[in-house]
Symmetry: C2
Subunit: 361 residues, 2 copies
């Protein structure tokens, strides 16, 4: 497995990302939409004690919906769930969703299922009533593209904080080489089968810290080359971390995507193990005040081995799946770290890169 941290979730072919945000005049919030126009098999795992979500029940492995076309991540706490309405309308205009009723030429009726999760950023811009609505979802979806340069304090990360620092949206990707079963019994070295891409996007608005207060560096190594901050920088960081009101409702939400073809149940497991990356990158995580939620998406471009499920057989489906699970954790951890490294100061919370500029050269 080759980690290519600070790649992007859009390295998974077919996955686009769009942001929309508003800052100033009492605003500091936004919405990020992950769009898969070709459809993806979905999954989700909700592990925080205070989640705010929509359409997560439809993603249960036993339930009807097998493909979705977008996930909406947004500020605005429970109010912000209305941002997903704009994504639903945008998908309907494109005829993307669960097909219903008889096909009527080009006019196939669809019901778009847009899972969503929110972060708590109310009043970060100063006005409690300023939060994303359907227009945010619509604009974020219209901004969706493969080449997405903006990370950090953008989209759903605009109003985010992470342990007293500015939070944000981060991303990363990893390439996983999956082995095939040996062609013959005495074929010791399995041939390479396929390069599978695993990408992650995380909106970090965590009650916990992403930066270790002792080392002033991220808890989770992410592949970023960082230097130890200077003494005055470490002191400034320590002050900022101490400022953190421990009583805040906070949340890390995100998406892990892969180019592999997985079953709905496998995508649920894939999303679940991504929480291991969250546990490594954000400390503590999954508290009663966190709404930590990770969605999984599998585009299905690359087939995994079909079997067998035998322990001693390299190249089995479950070995391949295990490699993707490990990559989900590693990549989601890197995305969380990147969210905080990429963020710039836009409101009251200072950004890591502004407090510790020497860490990033």
């Amino acid at each position: 497995m080759t980690a290519t941290p600070f790649g992007s979730i859009t390295d998974v072919a077919g996955v686009d990302v769009g942001h929309h945000q508003r800052t100033g005049r009492g605003w500091q919030t936004g919405t990020t939409v992950v769009v898969v126009e070709g459809g993806a098999t979905p999954g989700v795992d909700v592990r925080g004690g205070g989640p705010g979500t929509r359409e997560t029940d439809a993603l249960a492995p036993e339930n009807l919906i097998q493909q979705i076309h977008a996930v909406c991540l947004t500020g605005g706490s429970a109010y912000g769930l209305s941002a997903a309405d704009g994504v639903v309308a945008w998908l309907e205009r494109r005829g993307l969703g669960f097909p219903v009723g008889p096909p009527t030429g080009d006019d196939q009726r669809v019901v778009p299922v847009v899972p969503a999760a929110v972060v708590f950023d109310l009043e970060r811009g100063g006005v409690f009533a300023n939060r994303p609505d359907a227009s945010f979802g619509d604009r974020a979806a219209r901004n969706a593209r493969r080449a997405q340069q903006a990370w950090g304090a953008v989209g759903a990360g605009t109003g985010a904080t992470a342990g007293g620092l500015q939070g944000g949206v981060g991303t990363a990707s990893t390439r996983v080489r999956i082995a095939t079963p040996p062609a013959t019994a005495d074929d010791a070295e399995p041939a390479p089968f396929a390069d599978i891409v695993v990408g992650a996007l995380a909106v970090v608005n965590a009650n916990g810290t992403v930066i270790d207060p002792v080392s002033a560096l991220p808890w989770a190594p992410s592949g970023a080359r960082l230097r130890r901050p200077t003494r005055p920088e470490r002191d400034a960081l320590g002050d900022a971390l101490a400022e953190q009101a421990r009583a805040q409702l906070n949340t890390t939400i995100g998406v892990v995507a892969t180019s592999a073809r997985l079953t709905k149940a496998e995508v649920a497991k894939f999303a679940s193990v991504a929480h291991d990356g969250l546990a490594r990158a954000v400390r503590p995580a999954h508290s009663m005040f966190d709404g930590d939620t990770v969605f999984g998406l599998a585009t299905g471009a690359s087939e995994l081995p079909a079997g067998p499920t035998r322990l001693q057989t390299e190249g089995s489906r479950h070995h391949a799946l295990n490699a993707l699970l490990a990559a989900a954790a590693d990549t989601f951890a890197a995305a969380c770290t990147h969210a905080v490294l990429a963020a710039t100061t836009i409101g009251h919370a200072p950004a890591y890169r502004d407090l510790c500029p020497s860490a990033l050269r």
Copy 2:
């Protein structure tokens, strides 16, 4: 919160631990029992892809049983679940269990509910048919005591491996200071309320590694003062880690216990967040071949604040619970690390302390 790593789960008053194992003559397996004769509110979270468990459904928050008196952790894979039978019989003899039928003097009928989880250690001693039975559970329960000195390759950790190294049983404890609500509105500093103890016991038989192959030190800092191993030691460790057959069924199982009084639902959350510690200490974790399972136990000696659930109120129940959740993750991580640090070489798999003696001075 003061971490006192390499304390013991038996630092939670009322919690005892007993081991029984067999080695040599084709044997290398055993059983560990956590006994709470005074009863504890139970919970569980199963997050591995290949679990082997018993009585986990009874622990669901909505189900009947509110108190249990023992948890059984054992080698022997699915066969080893019979070890719990011996614990059930031992508890029945003591009249400990769910009371049924009319009380008949000293002869109260009980049904002991003994949750159990297994690790896959079949054939580690050489003979596939040698695995724990009810006599192992009985002996481990009879050995249960507060002062438990033996850790590492004992009990359920006897046949355990961790990324090619000898695995084992580890423990740790943490003391958590819980704040009370302020007595008056302008009382800025809440008074200390209680010191709550959080203890963990982990049986590490992981497919992933506990030791970082690059640094030759544990992934998760545990409070143990370790030195960087010498170059020859690091090379020997690298060889051992590479030896690991990646196809093994493996599992980390354990218990987190606390002296707090929690609801059954709160104990389930407490067990769930302990998996964050597993995710930090064992990499990767929660694979399809891991049966990772953590039980929670709350003895109820110390009351938590009853409320209110308000974000800005230090001293609320949810702030106290959050502190216990964070301690569950930290303490379980330390227990996992300790399992591998404490293990000695008893079979084919070399122990960390024998490969890298200079790390432990």
